[in-house]
């Protein structure tokens, strides 16, 4: 039996397809004839999406065309996989929720207006995760999804084993984690501190922002074990929606002895961009106030 795979790409950077195609296991499966890529604009030569067994959706939903395309594609697939953080949580394009769509188009294209028939597609009101458009069977987070997670996904597609994500944070698999609970005396800005940071000690213990405590495990601490703090691409833990809220809670447990408070705020200068870099459209308040909040008249009591 051949498993037909279709890959639909929305607003994306093509990194997820590259991560999938560079997996040795995936290439072996294609060579053995177990898996066939039936449709992908990047990987194979096929014009139209036919009926497939598994539909991989990569990229975030930014334009109205994306919504229509993914809705149509979902009718032709029996299983849908949200592949990559952009699809699961909105990803980096999700930070566009800080600005109104008219300002984005105006700032980039000037006087050219988006239209139904023209070259410039109309943007959706704000970026939304895939789950609010179609029902998703598997969520595979990561930017791009790390190898152990893709391996587990392929295993479940081919052998029918259950696919589960871990339910712990990056710190549980991080080699730098020594279970030291002492508070930190000095916070530092991440980019400025990277030159004189000790790569064999926990970053948070050195006062550098590392998203490990609020980020889902699965990548085997790829970045922290190679000398760079985690930026949180795996998204929030399963029982939470707000990665930023989790990280604020974690930071307060590390930074509580610091005086005055302005020093902490200086270390986290761009809170939305740093704490919910990949997950803004997935959080409880997924946009800037002027993007998605209406002011309602208060009825007098």
């Amino acid at each position: 039996m051949v498993i037909n795979i279709g890959i639909v790409s929305l607003a994306y950077c093509a990194g997820c397809e590259v991560a999938l195609a560079s997996m040795e296991r995936f290439c072996n499966l294609i060579a053995d004839g177990v898996v066939r890529i039936a449709y992908s604009t990047l990987l194979v030569d096929s014009e139209k999406l036919e009926n497939v067994d598994v539909l991989f959706v990569t990229g975030s939903i930014r334009t109205g065309e994306d919504i229509i395309a993914v809705k149509e594609a979902s009718r032709k697939a029996s299983k849908i996989v949200a592949f990559g953080s952009c699809t699961c949580f909105g990803g980096i394009p999700g930070l566009g929720n800080m600005i109104r769509r008219e300002e984005i188009v105006g700032g980039v294209f000037g006087s050219v207006q988006p239209s139904e028939s023209g070259l410039l597609p109309k943007l959706a009101k704000f970026v939304i995760p895939l789950q609010s458009v179609v029902d998703v069977n598997y969520m595979v987070p990561g930017c791009p999804p790390p190898e152990p997670v893709i391996e587990a996904l392929l295993e479940s597609l081919v052998h029918g084993r259950e696919f589960t994500l871990p339910s712990v944070s990056i710190c549980n698999e991080c080699p730098l984690n020594r279970d030291d609970k002492k508070p930190v005396k000095e916070p530092r800005r991440r980019l400025l501190a990277l030159n004189d940071v000790d790569v064999d000690t926990c970053f948070l213990k050195q006062g550098v922002l590392c998203m490990g405590p609020a980020t889902l495990a699965g990548c085997r601490a790829l970045c922290p074990s190679r000398g760079a703090p985690c930026i949180g691409c795996m998204g929030p833990l399963p029982n939470s929606r707000d990665q930023a809220a989790d990280m604020i809670d974690a930071l307060s447990g590390v930074f509580y002895m610091i005086e005055p408070l302005e020093r902490i705020l200086e270390a986290v200068l761009d809170p939305v961009g740093l704490l919910s870099m990949f997950t803004l459209p997935y959080s409880t308040i997924p946009y800037h106030r002027r993007v998605g909040v209406e002011e309602v008249k208060r009825d007098a009591d």
């Binding site: 109205g64 919504i67 704000f126 707000d242 809220a245 408070l261 308040i285 909040v293 002011e295 008249k297």
Partner: protein, 148 residues
Amino acid sequence: MIPVSLEPRVIAFTCTYCAYAAAETAGVSKLQYPPHIYIIRLPCSGMFRSYYVFKALYNGFDSVLWGGCHPPYDCHFINGNYKARVRAALLKSYLNQLGFEDDRFRLEWIAAGEADRFASIAKEIVKKATSLPRLRFLDNSEVVSEWL
């Protein structure tokens, strides 16, 4: 969402040992404070989770009051109020960047005996909330329905 007709609505998260006791003392000693405040009791102000604020605002509360014990030595759990202080500062800068006013979220130290202080803070925060506009958050389905 709680069905209520009173406007505006303010949710108050108070710690058992100080701020909640103050609210109770205010009631017992018949101090007047507005009925718009919905008080929730927490074990400690450090027990407050940051997503409570997001959830409260999203579900229609106009502002959030957070009460704890006076630093440095009042906290029953040694340093819960210190953690609350850092959490509040970071939350405020996060909400600020998302475009919400400073008045929507407030951390106050209220000792168990300061019933009059609780009453005056309650009056003040309700008065400020009245001048703020009521917010309605768009749902993701409204983005989808624009196109389908």
